[in-house]
Symmetry: C2
């Protein structure tokens, strides 16, 4: 049981954790913290939090669990603000899409990796932002990755794991580097393609007509291009090295496809498309099986 | 009113046209044609067609409207098979995703562009194939593009337009070249990105784990990679020139993004992502307005 949970950044991710823990009876008191008073008032009104402070140092006072749900670019300042104000029992975790930068920020602020800081990442989200979009079910049957490092103590990791399990999530652990590579492949690269595609079309002559003739497939394909630009700028900057590697691998694939199309080599195209379809169909089968168990 | 409609290729696209015209009372008799007897029997059983022949020359006998819904790679053989068997009142149209190759195939077979051939393209579909997936509503409120050429007579174009309007579609006309460019941008390029992304991941070490950590956004983004590989091979071969141009434009965008990420230039990233998000949100607003009117 968490006695005093502090959620820094009460939006979709932070708000959904608060809602899920409250519903599970796993948090006694939930305190919000953030820059927008209007948003915090809204969260209070919705019953997502029990109180708030706009000052991180004040908010973390006496907290035994602190969840950082800010964009990656705001993590370092948040660490700085809470330094020296943490209770002895405090555990810190976060929801950032890149773990290497969070570890680096923590080391820069605290001088070393604090043993009660457990970097984490819930693999869940939608394009809608804000506390109004948060939901008690966002993490149910979703995966959460924890990336404790050598310096991380066992007990904080176990507490963060129990917190996510109380939300209905399935928790696993991997190294920081591996997490950042996997996410570059499955999330960061696809977002680059969606942003890049829409921007390519938006810059074309006659773009209004082009979008007019786009069909439903295009809508699905580009949904993630409606994601929060600030959040994605931060992810790109934070996960630059792993993402650059994925972009290079994808560029190679596209060069190969472009040459194959230019040559009109139908046999090779069929091979690529059939392999991709098989992999994608297997992936969906996996998801469907996951959600029924 | 169509007296005798022949649908060559009774799958999702052909079957949905047959269903919609029957429901609208716009076709007296509907004859199917295709290579798979099993599929044609299924279509008969479902009431999508009234009869069938596996022989194109026989099927088109006495038809006043012929709809070609075969993959683009089968168009030329279909034209050859119907040559010399067409009734004087016959109008031919098709549903291919590329119009330049259809015109070229027709010219190659008939010696010149037949005046009663109206190239067309309904902008609708789903990943599921086959007559079982066909639906009376597939074309309702969807766009259909006709690309009559200089040689095309006015009356056949008007008849094809009325046919699609009877299905509830909104019909517009553009040049063959323009159609192929617009579709390369809005449909063919996105399919290449989805196939290419899934294939890149499928070829990576540890691919099973990578797909395991993919979230809902990835599912939406890659849905079109589950499309029919043969159909897409044909589209790539048919629309090679326009698609190659789009691939080059996209490669430039991605090179720019990759360099920006490598430099850690957050300002430029934010600009690209914000522009893309704005364009995508406008596009969705447009779609929503369309579907409510």
């Amino acid at each position: 049981m968490i006695k005093r949970l502090v959620v820094i950044g009460v939006g979709l991710i932070g708000g959904s954790l608060a809602r899920a823990l409250r519903e599970a009876g796993a948090a006694e008191e939930i305190i919000g913290c953030g820059r927008s008073r209007e948003n915090l008032e809204k969260a209070l009104e919705l019953g997502v939090i029990d109180g708030y402070s706009q000052d991180i140092a004040e908010a973390v006072e006496g907290a035994d669990m602190i969840f950082l749900a800010t964009p990656l670019g705001a993590m370092k300042d948040a660490f700085s603000a809470m330094r020296g104000h943490l209770a002895p029992q405090a555990v810190i975790t976060d929801g950032g899409s890149c773990k290497g930068s969070v570890v680096a920020d923590a080391k820069a602020v605290f001088g070393q990796m604090p043993p009660m800081l457990v970097p984490g990442h819930p693999i869940a989200g939608k394009e809608k932002n804000g506390v109004e979009a948060s939901s008690v079910a966002l993490y149910r049957n979703r995966r959460v990755i924890l990336t404790p490092v050598e310096e991380t103590d066992l007990q904080p990791t176990a507490r963060v794991r129990r917190m996510w399990e109380a939300c209905g999530a399935e928790v696993s652990e991997m190294s920081v580097e591996h997490h950042d590579e996997v996410l570059a492949a499955t999330s960061h690269l696809p977002h680059m393609l969606a942003f890049g595609l829409v921007d390519t079309l938006a810059r074309m002559e006659g773009k209004d007509e082009i979008f007019r003739y786009a069909a439903g497939g295009f809508r699905d394909f580009t949904r993630i291009a409606s994601s929060n630009p600030v959040m994605w700028r931060d992810i790109c900057v934070a996960n630059g090295p792993a993402l650059s590697k994925m972009l290079a691998a994808f560029a190679e694939e596209m060069n190969d496809l472009a040459q194959t199309i230019a040559k009109g080599d139908g046999e090779h195209l069929l091979e690529v498309f059939a392999r991709a379809k098989a992999a994608r169909d297997r992936f969906v089968d996996g998801l469907d099986n996951d959600s029924t168990t």
